[in-house]
Amino acid sequence: MALTVRKFFPPSCRGQAALTDALFLLAIVVGVSTLLYLFSSNYGVATAEYLNHQYSSDYITAALKTILFASISHDPDKSLSNTHEVDYVLTIVKEGYAAKEPHLLEDRVLTVLRDRVRRVMKPLENSRDYLFYVQETTQASRFLFIYAWLSEFPPGTCGPNSTSKVLPSTTVVPHREYFCIAKSESNILGISQRVNGYAQSITGIGLGEVENGSPREPIPGVVFLSAWTPNCLPQGTTGGLFQFHGTPLTSEESLAHSLYDPANPIANQIQEVLSTANNGRGLIYCIPFAPA
């Protein structure tokens, strides 16, 4: 080794040797500095994601509780401030279920739920997509109400064949509200596998049922709320998670009729799509809601 060094740097070239040593040191330092810089810029990314997820989780849990706790005027024509008869939202969900044949939720209940969900989720409405549903947990596992607040990606960024994409956090994506229907719970759980920052909360409820004027054993049900960072989710009946209806609903009054009533041609069309999409596994079929 010494011989090699002497060969390249004989005593007469000591100045050059010192300079080369310094350049070597500089190269090492530049390498180390680059590593330090990369390390520092990536430091805490996982922790920040975890904290963000924790916040979403705490928020969603609190939101679901608050939605169900909130009061509503028993008389739909009176506001909370000038009525003496108030109910919890949970109560009118039960009553609305009992009163409707074939045991769907009344339009008024759907309107109230939409209003409460929107109000409670207001602080996160620009930064998260979310989905809320009420479902029977009987063998049929029917969805009584699915409401979604989804981002509308700019044209070209979220096509029918696109895989999940996330826009830069600085991009503000406009949102739109939808009323949806799904074939099974697995259609909704599919979202959690395709998005970032997914958080969900679920609680059990007893849905009332009346037979010949007297209450029967309550039907078990669940209320579910989930939120995630806006993602471009795949659409279409083959390999898609969502299918969007072209014409938006303009009135809440027609909501239950449009989505769930078997006598309605749109509802039948939706059922047909649900039963054939993704080789029978179904998807989430959504109708945009744009109140006139």
């Binding site: 005593p11 007469s12 070239c13 000591r14 100045g15 050059q16 010192a18 300079l19 040593d21 310094a22 350049l23 040191l25 500089l26 090492i28 330092v29 530049v30 180390v32 500095s33 330090l36 810089y37 390390f39 520092s40 810029s41 430091y43 805490g44 922790t47 920040a48 904290l51 924790q54 916040y55 705490d58 928020y59 609190a62 939101a63 509780k65 608050t66 939605i67 706790f69 909130a70 009061s71 909370l80 003496h84 108030v86 919890y88 209003d115 409460r116 929107r118 109000r119 409670v120 207001k122 602080p123 409405e125």
Partner: protein, 207 residues
Amino acid sequence: MLKFFPPPKHSSHSRGYIGPIGDDLPSLIPLIFALAVFFATFSNTLGTFEKKNALFDLDLEVFKIARVLRGNGYYTGVEAFHDACKLVRAKNVYFFAMIVPISENIDEPYAFSLFKSENGQVVEKGLREMVTNRQVLLDPRFAGSLEESAYICPSLDEIDNYRIPFSGAAYSEGRLLTRSFPIAVASNNMENYPIVDLGQLVVVIWH
């Protein structure tokens, strides 16, 4: 004399030899440059660590404070909120928490803001101003005193003492953090049947 200062082994006409300082001077330039680069990167990295850690600390403290103040998610009156406030123990941070009302109009954007525009400039709102302007939920049973009726929980006793580092930079530098959580609040005192309204528990925290 020659005994103390012997002549150099290499004479001045040896090839490549300039002198003891002249020999090392060129190598000192990259050496010093390397040291400067290293210490600059090192201090930058350290600064980034500290900034990020400060933000994480704030985040964790927010969760701790919010968990105490959220309780079971439902407040029957302002006294219960003030009682919960006394249980909050925050380490090395200042904070205030408040419950703000949510507009009944769902198409109205979320209105809570710590800032206002004054003479064309964005300035912070005072905590007193927010309470006075009814941006904080009030319990109607205590109509006389704002301190008693407002759903507000400051880490300092006097809300007028707050000088909060409110500025756009404070957010980006991780010195200030705001988080909000939905909460249900009884908004009047109807006998046995209170109206439960929607509110947002907002926690503002800073170092």
